[in-house]
């Protein structure tokens, strides 16, 4: 199945393991990811905090490229997804964006990767490819802000309780824990600028995951991943409580269950998840 693919900047850097594991599982599932030719940055938060029309135009340049391809556009990063959907909403309402010609059609869907995997690829196909069920693993699934909010942009039916990542993890054989913090903000946007604001937000999520009896957190956003994974040592030092909860991308979990080599991805994590997976007999 061919689809357009917009990886976004962080999948080339801090979330390299998300990009690489996405390519791995796409190959296994027979998804042909056609990376948008010469894509540029979506503008992220910096665009919309600085100028509305700049933010729309930076995102829309990529929609212009996707339009010429005409295939559904799959986006693994929640922040890119949100910016592209915001520009799409503007174009759908008939209002112009700088750089986008009147000939723009927009006959394709923009989907977050987790939504595409669950709704388009589907449970049956995912289950068929499971070679090593994730027995004994008890994660909570975390979506963050922008996969579902605001719902008038994302089209999310239940913005407080998305299920796609939970459903995929269940199909992979994991014992998914329920919790109330799926879409609470992790403060990733303040990691560098206002760490004193970001840290309590991250700490709360780690505490609530532990309270839910989870041994790990599965995410679908490179920003959430970096804030949850990379700050645990700092938080441990500041609080005296030891935090070492492994954070996984959904695609790494799928790769593991499909029997793909995941060691190279897992070695890039700040909190090494390999001891947990070995203890559960999954590595």
């Amino acid at each position: 199945m061919p689809v357009s693919y917009y990886p976004g900047c962080s999948l080339e850097g801090t979330a390299r393991e998300y990009g690489e594991s996405t390519l791995d599982i796409a190959r296994v599932l027979g998804i042909e990811l056609k990376e948008l030719s010469d894509w540029s940055c979506c503008g992220a938060s910096s665009g919309h905090i600085t100028d509305d029309s700049l933010a729309l135009a930076l995102a829309a340049r990529n929609l212009g490229i996707a339009d010429t391809v005409g295939l559904d556009l799959v986006v693994p990063c929640a922040a890119c997804y949100s910016r592209l959907k915001t520009a799409e909403k503007r174009l759908r309402s008939g209002r112009a964006i700088v750089g986008i010609p009147d000939t723009y059609q927009g006959n394709y869907r923009i989907m977050h990767l987790s939504q595409f995997l669950w709704e388009d690829i589907g449970e049956e196909t995912i289950r068929q490819h499971v070679k090593h069920p994730l027995d004994g693993l008890s994660p909570v699934c975390y979506y963050g802000c922008l996969i579902t909010r605001p719902p008038d942009v994302t089209g999310a039916v239940d913005p407080d309780n998305p299920e796609s990542i939970d459903n995929i993890m269940t199909a992979l054989g994991a014992d998914v824990r329920r919790w109330s913090y799926k879409t609470d903000c992790c403060g990733a946007s303040h990691m560098l600028t206002l760490p004193q604001v970001a840290i309590p937000m991250i700490q709360k999520l780690l505490d609530m995951a532990e309270e839910a009896g989870a041994d790990s957190i599965v995410v679908g956003c490179p920003m959430c991943y970096t804030s949850l994974d990379s700050m645990q040592e700092t938080i441990s030092q500041e609080t005296g409580h030891e935090y070492d909860t492994p954070i996984f991308f959904i695609t790494e979990m799928m790769g593991l269950a499909f029997g793909e080599p995941v060691d190279k991805h897992l070695g890039r994590h700040s909190v090494d998840p390999r001891p947990l997976l070995s203890q559960k007999g999954l590595l």
């Binding site: 540029s40 992220a44 910096s46 600028t193 700040s270």
Partner: protein
Amino acid sequence: MTAIQTPQEVIPQLSLRRKVEELSGEKITACFQCEKCTNGCPVTFAMDIMPHQVLRLLGLGQIEEVLLSDTIWVCASCEMCATRCPNDISIAHIMDTMRQMSQREGPKASQKNVPIFHAAFLGSIRRFGRVHEAFMSVEFYLRSSGVSGLLQQAGTGLSMFNHGKIKIMPYRLLGNRQVRSIFKRTIKKG
């Protein structure tokens, strides 16, 4: 958390309220102070004015107080307020509008690191077409806390490098001129 000192009497500056309404496209007068935005906001613990109070101040045209606040910079753009507002006001977008006004017209941001970060981020897009995280972070630390601030981050940088998370060479965008032209044609001047 500091409680806001609400003046006993203010003279409403309706032209300033209309200015924010025009820039944001949001109807501030639709707010009936139900406080759902404030109750859902995950960063009120670091705010000096609560989100519903921002709406009240703007309704009265007291924009200076909002522009001087920590609140507009502490807002994490999580979109919870916009999702919960019963009157369809995107408070998150109003926060954007106020940050944009601050950067164009002043006064200086109370949390200076935030606009420095976003300028470094956009600088990277303008230069390369994509964000080069390592260059962007170096520029941010240099501009916000100088060489000593940058050196304090050396350990983090080295650890990222050892985990293979630093892309060495930036991608050279073929459509770089298109991206530069977007910057030229869009950003409103102060």
